[in-house]
């Protein structure tokens, strides 16, 4: 497979200026108040960037769960309590899992590979298309997430997501982190550590954890910036989208599977 076929458009940088001008023009008209609101909320979610991830399955270690643990901590998932007396099987089926480890074997060659699986941050996300209220949405910077104030818990997005990337909160939430609000009856999924990124960080919790363990299997960055590490890597290595046949143009890519 050609490494270029899956590449996102890298030449959008020059659009930055124009976008800002256009955005300003669009918001000035309705009035000053709106301009203020817009400016503060849109900060960090500019369409000049598209956040994405490149995962090298060769480097992802068998039996390692550093990324999963880090995600659980970062997003307060580890604060969830298993309901009393619930069996392992049901708990695993009901507890939120933003990222999971999957171990695969090629049916022909027998080659074994490991990879973390999470929301792929589709450019054309089916979860957003089907959501009746618009709670499931894509930010200008490509991050797909759920607005927990408008999610009615219909779970249609979970039916529509081809990657089973979403979790429904099946129980009361006793404790949670301010940065990762959570509520019984709503749906959530990986948001590429949107809070961290908006605060100016350039890495996700899972990437940090993976690096700390010395695997370097996860690379996070701006797909639209030709100088970013991830864009360069995508240019030189042959990468894949999972279920590329669905043409969702995922923001998360994999090499060596």
């Amino acid at each position: 497979m050609s490494c270029n076929s899956d590449q996102p458009d890298m030449n959008r940088r020059g659009f930055l200026g124009k976008t800002v001008v256009a955005a300003t023009a669009a918001v000035v008209a309705p009035g000053i108040m709106l301009t203020v609101a817009k400016a503060s909320s849109e900060e960090g979610a500019s369409s000049a960037v598209r956040w994405g991830m490149l995962i090298d399955t060769n480097k992802c270690a068998d039996g390692c769960s550093a990324c999963v643990d880090a995600c659980n901590k970062e997003n307060g998932i580890d604060l969830m309590q298993r309901p009393e007396g619930q069996a392992d099987e049901m708990w695993n089926a009901q507890r939120p899992q933003w990222v999971r480890k999957v171990k695969l074997r090629d049916k022909q060659t027998g080659e074994v590979s490991n990879l973390p699986m999470m929301c792929q941050h589709c450019e054309h996300p089916p979860c957003v298309d089907v959501c009746p209220t618009g709670a499931s949405f894509k930010r200008a910077d490509g991050i797909v997430m759920v607005d927990r104030h408008t999610c009615i818990g219909c779970r249609y997005c979970m039916m529509a997501c081809p990657y089973k990337a979403r979790s429904f909160i099946h129980q009361d939430v006793a404790e949670q982190l301010t940065g990762a609000p959570r509520g019984k009856g709503c749906v959530e999924s990986c948001n590429l550590c949107a809070g961290r990124i908006d605060a100016g960080n350039s890495t996700t919790a899972c990437q940090d954890a993976c690096n700390r363990d010395g695997h370097q299997a996860i690379l996070f960055g701006d797909l639209k910036n030709p100088d970013s590490e991830i864009a360069k890597a995508l240019k030189t290595e042959s990468s894949h989208q999972i279920r590329a046949d669905l043409e969702l143009n995922t923001g998360v890519r994999y090499t060596n599977i």
Binding site: K103, L104, V128, D129, P132, T150, I152, C154, K164, D172
Partner: protein, 401 residues
Amino acid sequence: MIKTQYRELHCSSPRYWGGLASLAFIILVGLGAAFHMEHNGHFVTGMSNQIVWGLPHVFAIFLIVAASGALNVASIGSVFGGPMYKPLGRFSGLLAIGLLAGGLVVLLLDLGRPDRLIVAMTTYNFKSIFAWNIILYTGFFTIVGLYLWTMMDRKFEQYKRPVGFAAFFWRIALTTGTGSIFGFLVAREAYDAAIMAPMFIIMSFSYGLAFFIITLISAYWWAGRTIGDLRLAKLKNLLGVFVGAVLYFALVYHLTNLYVTQHHGVERFILLDGGIYTNMFWIGQVLIGGVIPLFLLYSPAFTTSRFALSIASLLVLIGGFFQVYVIVIGGQAYPMNLFPGKEVLESSFYDGVVASYTPTTAEALLGIAGIAIAMTLVAVGSRMLRVLPESLEDPAEGECA
């Protein structure tokens, strides 16, 4: 020409109120179950992140599909001018409203946040077929309500046909919309078929008519009124055609799926080795919901047997319920193929394995309450409104009732 006289459903009080009281009890129990699930969260149900739509959705979809089909009798009467069906039009409209309301209550109470109904009613994502369905359902109530009015109020008689046409098309749109909910789930193999929407329409014809026959016979028994044999024979033949058509569509659906190589897995799952789903398909959908009713409907031994007709209608409903169960739950249980050519050795999230689902009593109680809500609305409606003809004796020779 004798004009049909409609009269409110009056019957001996104990029979009516007793029946109503039992329905109310079932509804209360169902609401209690819903409260239990909402209060604790869905962890008390059999649903999970693997099977996200459970038994309540099966009931809800079944009722909503049946609702649009129940209107069929009215459509045949006023849109296509079938004289035998005409006097049944009002009751058909009332039943359609009742069934839809029952289904929607179940759907609503199974949401993660039913308290956000107002959000669902005011914030629309117009790309979502689900949002369109909300509009289709609301519109259905309005249009069928108007339709009932035009049928019942002489002054508006001239609008009966146009409103009837509108209701007819709206109802087709509604079922198509319901079927399309699945059509949009491209990644799930069981649903990736264009035939899904027309199949839902034909399913609605069949379930709706079965509901209609059962409630009509019960109402007339309740009220001690009579129905003519000829009229029942008409309904019976129609049901036979619909049941046959549902079987035919199921056949085409599976054949086309077998034609698509990537779908062989899911076909094998439903038709051969899917355990409970395979049983539900063959025993529930095909045998109970298809073959036996067809036998009861067409066997010369039962030509005028009302009992056979009622049993056949009941079996059609049971079989239809299994059919929806196989579509909704079976379609989710079968794993999505994320990694073609690979087998999944390990995953904490059940990748690559058949998801298990055991519905809980609470889920079933909520669903049954949906049916009770529908029946209560019909019972109260026919007591308060003139929807049921005084007599449904067959018209005299050469006469159009």
